[in-house]
Amino acid sequence: MFADLVRGLWKENPTFRMMIGMCPTLAVTTTATNGLAMGLSVAFVLVCSSAMISLLRRQIPSEVRIPCYIVIIATFVTVADLFLAAFLPSIHRVLGLFVPLIVVNCIILGRAEAFASKMPVSRSILDALGMGLGFTMALVILGSIRELLGFGTLFGTRIMWEGFTEWVIMILPPGAFFTLGLLVGLINWLSTNLSKGSALRLRAGRRAKDGTASVHIHRVGSGQ
């Protein structure tokens, strides 16, 4: 059960590992706050749609499931959009076009197909929550980096020192691509080396046990 929640945070993180839902990831992460807002909106739609789809999974005939899922997802997106426009108008203005685009965010339809349509409601909600939080986390990290280097602030508060010249490029489209690309590379490198480290320790342990002196030159598992 807990595994359902944690999966979306690291191992199957939608942004860094599965590379889906890229459009809002690049577009709205100009500041950490925007990234947070978008991430939470997606999480909201994800949890609600997964719950609803899981609830109705036995009722909806398989042939028409995709149109039904789409209608359900679009409804929740419209609700989120109206909610933001009514209560958080400044955030709504910044997120702009990308709130309705949550409808075609592959994460949501993907999870509905792969998980919510087959699993009970409680598991679907946990899975959706994990994915949503993983996505939010990725967006906040990306947004923080871009905001810090591009504006010198973090969540609106000035962090960088006085003489710091802002890297305006970070706020512009190229900055988004570069930052995400390097982050993906970093995460790949981390996960390769983390698994390498643990495998090396395992190998050393085994050698000590059988007492052989031979040296193992062995390339440990490649990640990507």
């Binding site: 809002p24 690049l26 789409i70 685009l101 489209p173 570069f178 690309g181 590379g185 790949n188």
Partner: protein, 193 residues
């Protein structure tokens, strides 16, 4: 007329859907490994875009606005897009089975391409006329195809280079995209938008 030219050039170069507006990134990263697949995907997308722009424009004007149902816009647009993609699939299957096969899984994926929905929404937002919408969508499709093909060309060459392990695949693709986006920034101010 001048206005139409500006809209066209604007959507192809100045406000390129992929490299400036971040629409259509998923297929951009996914389908840009070979030039011919990229070209096929781009053209299929352009076709869907043009038809979508007309249908959603009519839908918006004569039903949604007429009857005061703005809150149904997102649901209706995406359903129209899903239906249109189905038709295009069937159409291609009959007319050009070779192209249909080479595009494979990517064809139904055009439905979730945010560029298509984004296009429909932008047209409604900017309140373009029907002609302007068609020109805009052709430009958008062309810009999308352009970005995809350039990317595919680069990635084909990149396959022979020494890319660090951790950056292989998506990492380096994103960095190349960043460089392309940087280059496209040069088009700013080309036409009064």
């Amino acid at each position: 007329m001048e206005q139409l030219v500006f809209i066209f050039i604007g959507s192809v170069l100045v406000n390129n859907f992929v490299l400036v507006q971040f629409l259509g990134i998923c297929p951009f990263l996914g389908v840009s490994k070979q030039v011919d697949t990229a070209l096929g995907m781009g053209m299929a997308t352009t076709f869907v875009m043009s038809v979508t722009s007309v249908v959603t424009w009519l839908l918006n004007r004569y039903i949604l606005v007429q009857f005061g149902l703005p809150f149904l816009q997102y649901a209706m647009f995406i359903l129209v897009i899903a239906a249109l993609v189905q038709f295009v699939e069937m159409f291609l299957h009959k007319v050009s089975p070779a192209l249909y096969r080479s595009l494979g899984i990517f064809l139904p994926l055009i439905t979730t391409n945010c560029a298509i929905l984004g296009l429909a929404l932008l047209i409604a937002l900017r309140e373009y006329t029907l002609i302007q919408s068609i020109v805009f969508s052709l430009g958008a499709g062309l810009g999308f195809t352009l970005a995809l093909v350039i990317m595919a060309g680069i990635r084909q060459e990149l396959a022979y280079s020494n890319v660090p392990k951790c950056l292989q695949g998506s990492g380096i693709a994103l960095i190349v995209a960043g460089l392309l986006s940087l280059a496209f920034m040069g088009f700013s101010g080309l036409v009064p938008v």
